[in-house]
């Protein structure tokens, strides 16, 4: 009975030991909670063949042959507007082949957005019911995917692309893929 009582007082220490174990695991090298890994990395991108915003469609097969950047966006998404200047720079100064997928959106609204803020995309595909986004595993817009020349997903960026991400990760990756 007394031994049982003593054991009870050990419980806080044991719980803390378990917790500390988790903390040690979390500090292991290479663990970064900011990275959202994609199950799709290094796999072939899901097939899509979408109606386009300007009549021309957007299909995965047409993108093969050189590395491209696919950006999921929507007119209703505020962070996408934040991202716009970065995308404009990518398209105009860095000449990155950038394709947009308009996610769960009305074509008119998207048209208005691009007319107002500038259109960085070579072509925009319409994904009104979000099916392509679902196949890619999009958490929320904006999200960007780097596809290599064979149509495999090589990198995923969640949230608006920042200048830092572009300089440190995106551009070097595209450069490497072109070789």
């Amino acid at each position: 009975m007394i031994a049982m009582r003593r054991l009870l007082y050990l419980v806080p220490l044991l719980l803390f030991a378990v917790l500390a174990g988790y903390f040690v695991l979390a500090l292991r090298p290479g663990y970064d909670p900011h990275v959202l890994p994609s199950a799709m990395i290094d796999k072939e991108a899901p097939h899509f063949d979408l109606a386009g915003l300007d009549g021309k469609g957007l299909a995965l097969t047409a993108l093969k042959g050189s590395p491209v950047l696919i950006n999921f966006f929507a007119s209703w998404c505020v962070p996408c507007r934040e991202e716009q200047p970065v995308l404009m720079r990518l398209a105009n100064q860095e000449h990155v082949p950038l394709y947009g997928i308009d996610y769960k959106d009305q074509p008119e609204d998207a048209q208005k957005l691009l007319a107002e803020f500038g259109d960085p995309y070579r072509r925009v595909g319409l994904d009104p019911d979000g099916q392509v986004g679902l196949n890619f595993g999009v958490y929320g817009v904006p999200e960007s995917y780097v596809l290599d020349s064979t149509g495999h997903i090589r990198k995923r960026f969640v949230g608006p692309l920042t200048a830092e991400e572009v300089n440190k990760e995106l551009l070097p990756l595209l450069l490497a893929l072109r070789k």
């Binding site: 500090l27 909670p33 959202l36 200048a163």
Partner: protein
């Protein structure tokens, strides 16, 4: 030169804190009074040295010494003086110096005002404080030194994160840290009591004011942080269940439990080992919070720059401090003998319920915060639980406790009369029913839980008033007699009434947030938006230069029934040094509701995004928190805790302690 002085002072402070940690402890176990007395002077010296380090760091900031790396990374010549000073703790290294500085404030206050403590207890408490200080000083010097130089000096600094250049945020860390660090005193008392193997009513009497003071600071600190998030982030939210917020909220929850359980130790000489455990956990959670925020193991919007080396060091610190204290607890606590017995329905019972619920609430927040970490460790997907988890688990858990806040104080010690108490608060039922009906009919969206929230707030508020009226026997005796009774009530009783009433006010504020309305629209000069019976007329944007930013200042007229009732100026500020934009929201309040207007992005053609929210009762959240903290301060001013009273009380037998507030 002054920078090296600060660095040197910090190293010296480490040496002194080691002396403070070891000498009094050895002295206490050997009964050597001279060694025990070292604690006091060591604590004061250590504080002086840390203060010197703090001042020299401030000096480097104010004089724009761009040969100091920390100043380069966080300051700029264009920055206003206020933010040059507060920038000292706007970064990881500087905030750790502030942390140790606040610890010094507590230790030296303890050293100065503990003359009436038994010398052994005092020596041990100061020694534990010395150990904590030594650990953190070592941490600063080894992994986060703010005094490092670089050569050649930089031409200018990189500036402070614009989001941090705000009075609300500039002043909330000192409050928050004073709260966190203040709990170290309770921790030190708990460890000292475990070493001595003795906990009695007078022990609780010493611990309680310290805990209460830290709790007040933490309450204000959390409220300031939440208010800052509300007016600065520009989306009108006031609590995000973000890991950093939770890190401050968890010690607050357990600290609240501790304040209540130490009453039971003080009045009834029971629940001792539980109270000791709470004192240990409260400070442990402050430490765990520090670890979570600074090691980068969780994603957060306000994270500091992180470094795994730092994480490892803090983890070691956690293992020694928390692991050590809990080991001591496992060995010594079983021997602590409980005193008074009590029936489940009694004041003690109500306080136990409070403790259980607050602890469970804290455990919920803890699980929710660390869930991503646990899941990742077993190879699960990366995800974090957000609002839905906390709203569905934490909020319902708090309901029984809030109900108990109304009745608990009406129960007597040992054995209470629940039925009698429930009958005496009949006015509270009426108030709750009226509140629910009014909320239901006034609000357009018939959401059941927020409406019940109003009922809960009214119940608590009314029950608190009933309890106070009972205590002064209002309407039972003459009015003059009631006033006389009110004057002679102990301050602690007033403190409780105020704090509980503050809780009711805050709950009303929380509940009302379900009923806000908003408009988001693209506007140009002369556009009119309609919101909650107001019209907002957008009058255009003008460019206004700031000291270190370029501002786009808009003018919005607020119109009610055709008359302009106010003109507000929501603003966007662009900080060229960091290439960052912040939003200065305009908030118009009448204390019943806020009208909240934020300016979004604009384009060359003069179209701007404008977001406007109408938020009923939202100021009550912070007013309630201020009332709670004020209740704590009033309780602190109680006669029983004045210097010397504890010593006199200790000499009397425990049975004739001061009467409880309710008696």
């Amino acid at each position: 030169m002054t920078t090296e002085l600060g660095h040197f002072a910090l190293i010296l402070a480490l040496c002194v804190s080691l002396v403070q940690a070891v000498v009094p402890l050895v002295g206490a176990s050997r009964g050597n009074l001279a060694w025990m007395a070292v604690g006091r002077n060591a604590a004061l010296t250590e504080f002086g040295l840390v203060a010197l380090a703090m001042l020299s760091l401030m000096h480097a900031y104010v004089t724009n010494d761009f040969s100091v790396i920390n100043v380069i990374e966080n300051s700029h010549t264009d920055k206003p003086l206020l933010y040059q000073i507060t920038g000292v703790w706007g970064n990881h290294e500087g905030s750790m110096v502030l942390w140790v500085f606040m610890l010094g404030v507590c230790s030296s206050a303890l050293a100065l005002f503990s003359n009436n403590l038994p010398p052994q207890l005092r020596a041990r408490v100061l020694s534990v404080q010395g150990m904590i200080a030594a650990g953190f000083l070592l941490f600063i010097l080894l992994t986060s030194n703010p005094f490092l130089r670089t050569w050649p000096p930089a031409a200018n600094g990189q500036g402070l994160n614009p989001v941090l250049q705000d009075p609300g945020l500039a002043f909330h860390p000192p409050f928050l840290y004073l709260g966190y660090v203040g709990f170290s005193v309770g921790f030190a008392f708990a460890v000292a009591a475990l070493i001595e193997g003795r906990v009695d009513a007078s022990w609780a009497r010493w611990v309680r004011p310290w805990t209460l003071a830290s709790w007040c600071f933490l309450t204000i600190g959390i409220a300031m942080g939440s208010w800052w998030a509300y007016y600065t982030l520009g989306w009108g939210g006031w609590w995000f269940w973000d890991p950093v917020e939770n890190a401050s909220f968890m010690p607050w929850l357990v600290g609240t439990a501790l304040i209540h359980s130490s009453i039971v130790v003080e009045k009834r000489d029971t629940l001792k080992s539980w109270t000791i455990l709470l004192a240990i956990i409260t400070f442990s959670l402050s430490l765990v919070g520090t670890f979570l925020v600074r090691s980068g193991v969780l994603t957060s919007v306000h994270a500091f720059a992180t470094d795994p080396r730092r994480g490892m060091f803090i983890l070691l610190l956690l293992l020694v401090a928390i692991g050590g204290a809990l080991t001591l607890y496992a060995i010594r606590a079983p021997a602590l003998k409980g005193g008074g017995l009590f029936a489940p329905i009694s004041r003690e019972g109500a306080l136990v319920l409070n403790n259980l619920i607050l602890s469970c609430g804290c455990a919920t927040v803890f699980l929710g915060t660390l869930y991503p970490l646990f899941l990742d460790a077993v190879g699960g997907p990366k995800l974090s639980v957000g609002f839905p988890f906390f709203n569905r688990t934490f909020a319902p858990l708090m309901v029984p406790m809030i109900l108990a806040v109304g009745v608990g104080p009406l129960l007597s010690w040992k054995r209470g009369d629940l039925l009698g108490a429930l009958q005496r608060v009949w006015a509270a039922y009426v108030a709750a029913a009226v509140a629910v009906l009014v909320a239901w009919s006034v609000t357009h969206r018939h959401e059941i839980f927020p409406v019940l929230g109003f009922g809960l707030a009214a119940w608590t508020g009314a029950a608190v008033i009933v309890e106070f009226a009972e205590r002064v026997r209002l309407f039972r005796v003459g009015f003059g007699e009631s006033v006389r009774r009110a004057i002679h009530l102990p301050r602690a009783a007033y403190g409780m009434t105020l704090a509980h009433f503050g809780l009711a006010v805050s709950i009303a504020g929380f509940s009302a947030s379900a009923f806000d309305s908003q408009v988001i629209a693209t506007v140009h000069d002369g556009s009119v938006l309609k919101l909650a019976g107001y019209e907002l007329r957008f009058m255009g944007v003008e460019r206004v230069p700031g000291p270190n930013f370029a501002g786009n200042r808009s003018t919005v007229e607020i119109i009610r029934s055709g008359r302009v009732v106010a003109v507000v100026h929501p603003e966007q500020r662009f900080f060229p040094v960091q290439q960052q934009t912040t939003s200065e929201t305009a908030i118009r309040t009448n204390f019943l509701a806020d009208l909240y207007v934020a300016l979004g992005d604009g384009d060359a053609a003069g179209n701007w995004t404008l977001r406007a929210y109408w938020k009923p009762l939202v100021p009550w959240i912070w007013i309630g928190a201020i009332i709670m903290a004020f209740g704590g301060v009033v309780s602190l001013s109680d006669r029983r805790w004045r210097v010397g009273v504890a010593a006199r009380a200790r000499r009397r037998p425990v049975s004739v302690l001061q009467p409880a507030p309710g008696e």
